[in-house]
């Protein structure tokens, strides 16, 4: 299997994860979407030195992993390309912010180190939350949810087509790299002299295919509405999920769990 085919497999595995049947999967996509957005906003709102307050936010993704039966391993494996990028964001803070904030067992810890860790955790938490949303909700029902929340048709269609276009493009790329290597045995990668025509062909071929896919959608009555997603009414459970989890987030945000714990232990 070449790299591209693995990429395709991974993309389609998201669809398979999303087809699971846990309590979380069964929730209304709009409820999950809103909750995820609230979670991300609350997570981002923590002060940059508030590491102790931020850590308990991990509880929510952990709970979701438990209930949905999705493996944490799968999450980090799929995010392995973006994670380092997110982690790199705060990397330079320790160099700029050298004021000592606290002593840890006699070891001075600067504000830069704390804010670096806080930024990293914020990034990882938000990624996990988005991953969990994608892994428990199919792209089609997510689009249907966006429409329900009155996001313009054009944007939602663009999102859906991009998702499908990426799949088509990687497929074409897989076929083309295979064809190339069959006629250039023993060569690693694609020779730089062929890049121009290779990329050009890739673009044309995937555009052709995307065009045909789109025609095929239109021929079956597609008019930028998402009737086909696993659609169902908003139930009481969904309606409760949003305020319940949001309240939990706000509690985590305002009640200093770490400090409470710390002070009870000290006392």
């Amino acid at each position: 299997m070449n790299k591209m085919q693995r990429a395709i497999r991974e993309l389609s595995e998201m669809d398979e994860l999303a087809a699971g049947s846990s309590l979380i999967h069964a929730l209304h996509p709009a409820a999950k979407l809103v909750t995820t957005v609230v979670y991300i906003l609350v997570t981002l709102s923590f002060d940059k030195y508030d590491l102790g307050g931020l850590v308990p936010m991990l509880l929510w993704p952990v709970l979701l992993f438990q209930v949905s039966g999705i493996e944490v391993k799968a999450c980090f494996y799929k995010l392995r390309i973006v994670l380092p990028l997110v982690m790199a964001v705060g990397l330079f803070n320790p160099f700029f912010d050298k004021a000592i904030l606290l002593q840890l067992g006699g070891l001075p810890v600067s504000g830069g180190v704390i804010s670096m860790l806080t930024l990293m955790l914020k990034g990882v938490f938000c990624l996990m939350a988005s991953f969990l949303l994608m892994a428990t909700t199919s792209i089609d029902s997510l689009c249907a949810a966006l429409r329900k929340l009155h996001v313009p048709k054009l944007i939602v269609t663009l999102l859906l087509l991009t998702y499908r276009y990426v799949g088509v493009m990687t497929e074409e790329l897989a076929v083309m790299t295979d064809a190339y290597h069959l006629r250039a045995p023993g060569q690693k990668g694609i020779h730089i002299s062929a890049w121009g025509s290779f990329l050009g062909q890739l673009l044309l071929r995937s555009m052709d295919r995307a065009q045909e896919l789109y025609s095929s959608m239109m021929l079956r009555g597609y008019c930028q509405e998402f009737y086909y997603a696993d659609y169902r009414a908003f139930r009481l459970g969904d309606a409760l999920y949003v305020p319940a989890s949001s309240t939990a987030f706000f509690l985590l945000r305002t009640v200093r769990i770490a400090e409470l714990l710390g002070s009870t232990i000290v006392r």
């Binding site: 389609s12 021929l219 079956r220 597609y222 008019c223 659609y231």
Partner: protein
């Protein structure tokens, strides 16, 4: 129910693909559209579906194919693409089959009932919950035909329905096509299949109609076929007439 009136078309200027094409297909007819590679068969389908615009008039049950009439026209036509990979875009076969009916605002129950009926008719119950990227080319072709049948179109257009199929699946597709009571327009290089499924044949050559008549006449005419870069159907080879 399908009528071409003096239709001409070119993808690029000075390279006409179809020239002054006129024919008429009655309701319930099964017509085979044959011709060498590049004769313009797929282009005829594209024009009919409004995926390309040419000169002349194309009518589907009296409605002219024009930009503003496309939803009406397309609703009457079911199209099985030459490449099934481009036809199936939902994660599973089942979701793909639901796509059309739900877009046409059928209720979930009605759509589900249609899906099950079609799967049973084509003996494809096993495919229902399979992932589109994990089924073979032949299975995908059958699934693509199934997605089109769930829309219950009045006419079915098929571009090379038996290419890439093994003999067993090819036979199933042929039997399926024979059982469909809709109007059918089928292009193929598989002349045996055309002979099995169509009563009438239109032979395209360089964008013009070289012959139009009963399948049993045209497909038996060795000279005519060879003049147009084709051969007698295999089942008729070796007959001495």
């Amino acid at each position: 129910m399908i009528e071409f009136q003096h239709v001409s078309f070119a993808y690029e200027k000075d390279r006409p693909v179809l020239q002054d094409l006129s024919f008429r297909i009655e309701k319930g007819e099964a017509v085979g559209l044959i011709g060498a590679n590049g004769a313009g068969k797929s282009t005829v389908m594209k024009l009919l579906l409004g995926l390309a615009e040419g000169e002349g008039r194309i009518l589907v049950e009296g409605t002219e194919v024009r930009r503003d009439s496309l939803p009406v026209v397309r609703r009457k036509l079911g199209f099985v693409l030459q490449n099934s990979d481009n036809q199936m875009f939902m994660p599973t076969v089942y979701e793909d089959m639901l796509f059309g009916p739900l877009n046409y605002k059928l209720s979930r129950e009605e759509a589900d009932a249609r899906v099950d009926a079609v799967l049973e008719k084509l003996h494809l119950e096993d495919l229902k919950h399979r992932y589109n990227h994990k089924i073979s080319g032949g299975e995908k072709r059958m699934a693509a035909i199934a997605t089109v049948l769930t829309m219950e179109p009045e006419a079915i257009l098929m571009d090379e329905p038996t290419s890439a199929l093994d003999p067993y699946n090819r036979r199933i597709v042929i039997n399926t096509i024979r059982e469909l009571e809709q109007t059918k327009l089928i292009t193929s290089h598989d002349l045996d299949m055309i002979l099995d499924t169509c009563d009438r044949v239109i032979l395209l050559s360089e964008g013009c109609i070289a012959a139009d008549g009963p399948a049993r006449e045209i497909l038996y005419d060795r000279m005519l076929l060879e003049r147009n870069r084709m051969e007698l159907p295999l089942s008729l080879m070796g007959r001495s007439d």
